[in-house]
Symmetry: C2
Subunit: 285 residues, 2 copies
Amino acid sequence: MRIIKSINEMQRMSLKMKREGKSIGFVPTMGFLHEGHLRLVDYAKRYADVVVVSIFVNPTQFGPKEDLNRYPRDIEGDCKKLKSRGADIVFIPHTKDVYPEDFQTYVEVFELEKPLCGRFRPGHFRGVATIVAKLFNIVMPDYAIFGKKDYQQFLLIKQMVRDLNFPVKIIGVETVREEDMLAMSSRNSYLSKEEREVARHFAESLYLAQRVYNEGGFKRPVDVVRYVERYLSKFKGIKVQYVELLDALRLKEVRDFSQDMVLASAVFVGSTRLIDNRVLHKRCR
Amino acid sequence: MRIIKSINEMQRMSLKMKREGKSIGFVPTMGFLHEGHLRLVDYAKRYADVVVVSIFVNPTQFGPKEDLNRYPRDIEGDCKKLKSRGADIVFIPHTKDVYPEDFQTYVEVFELEKPLCGRFRPGHFRGVATIVAKLFNIVMPDYAIFGKKDYQQFLLIKQMVRDLNFPVKIIGVETVREEDMLAMSSRNSYLSKEEREVARHFAESLYLAQRVYNEGGFKRPVDVVRYVERYLSKFKGIKVQYVELLDALRLKEVRDFSQDMVLASAVFVGSTRLIDNRVLHKRCR
């Protein structure tokens, strides 16, 4: 497994591989890797000849009051995991090379960035779209693999690729969960033992709402949202930021269950912000 | 010479050429080609194995009150000229394919878009950056050739390429002028005979200012601007939109002549908007 830190070297390497007719699978990450990330590597290997994983904690997707500085890092541990999982190249660029002093160009996906996390994290998705566009131009992947835990990000990147004609196929992979169902996240490492215990009820709330939905227990979209809100209100350690049921493709409000939907939520457990979602399939009559 | 109208076909074609190790030179245009465009084709041929010219009147770079609908078009004439000049592929995409109904992703270069034309054409450079990013992803050029008549556009595209890491080298080509020095432009076709006659004084004003500058005739930057304004004020048929002297790299205001500068101006001759510029080299002491 090769570790590359220079942007130019990575770009030259990718051009060389393309000229040799090798397909490139790409997994962009912010490091502190868990099984969810490694599952993305497995998928990349399935699709492509060469697997490139990037590790870069992207400052432009953090708000001024967010956790950029305390975001967990473990490059050495990450590289070990990636090697044992069969990644071919780890790309770890320096922040000052990614964003030189006179940097001033941003990519923005104006509709899909608005709802859900976009309401509470202004600038976040502009930062995500911009860094992914940059990484696509550097790594030049044929396939890029994203987890569906970040559902809005997954849709937004697909839209960006379509709108800007990137020659990349986006693959979405199901959320990987701990044994008690909590969605894996690098941010789970922030949780104290007590917080970790209560956090499972967050995942539970969405899972149960999905089950009730599948059994026909809800009449209207608002009932689903209220069910989750009521369920979470029982736990003092959980503070809801949003619970929303939106259509699964455009993230627009829904009036009924006649389209696929995403039930998405963000909560705080202590000072740690967690997100999760479940897809509800349209009801056929 | 091959004419391609499908985005997918163009992209597949470019991937194929890249795999064959051929370098691609690209000239993006809005059609109604003149010698200025054809000179860009000459440059592309000099740099690359295959020359792709796109013809697309890009709606997102026109303001609501601008000349999108009356912009001159002559696809047949354009193709004849390109063939005789040795272009290999002409890419003429359909507007509805370039901007499908749910299109919502834009690229923006936030500093370089502000001065000069950016002050008077809000959204223009966002449209330019977005279409060029799209065309780069479709055509995948190794070299892209731009005229320096659109000096701000040339700088802005170079910045976008650097910031978003496009694997493209940007080549700038000197402005091509008519015999009386008027910069070639598709929009010159709007001019009546009388307007065309007076328009030459626009080019003249910048040329003379440059000459006076080179002879040491100006003390301060503002003197250069006033010289051009005073010169143009003599001609009733010319209405100045702006005359500015900015540093030639960042387009920031200058306090003296210690850096390379661009003397740039936009005027109206009748209802036709014309732009032109001259580069003034720094004064060595």
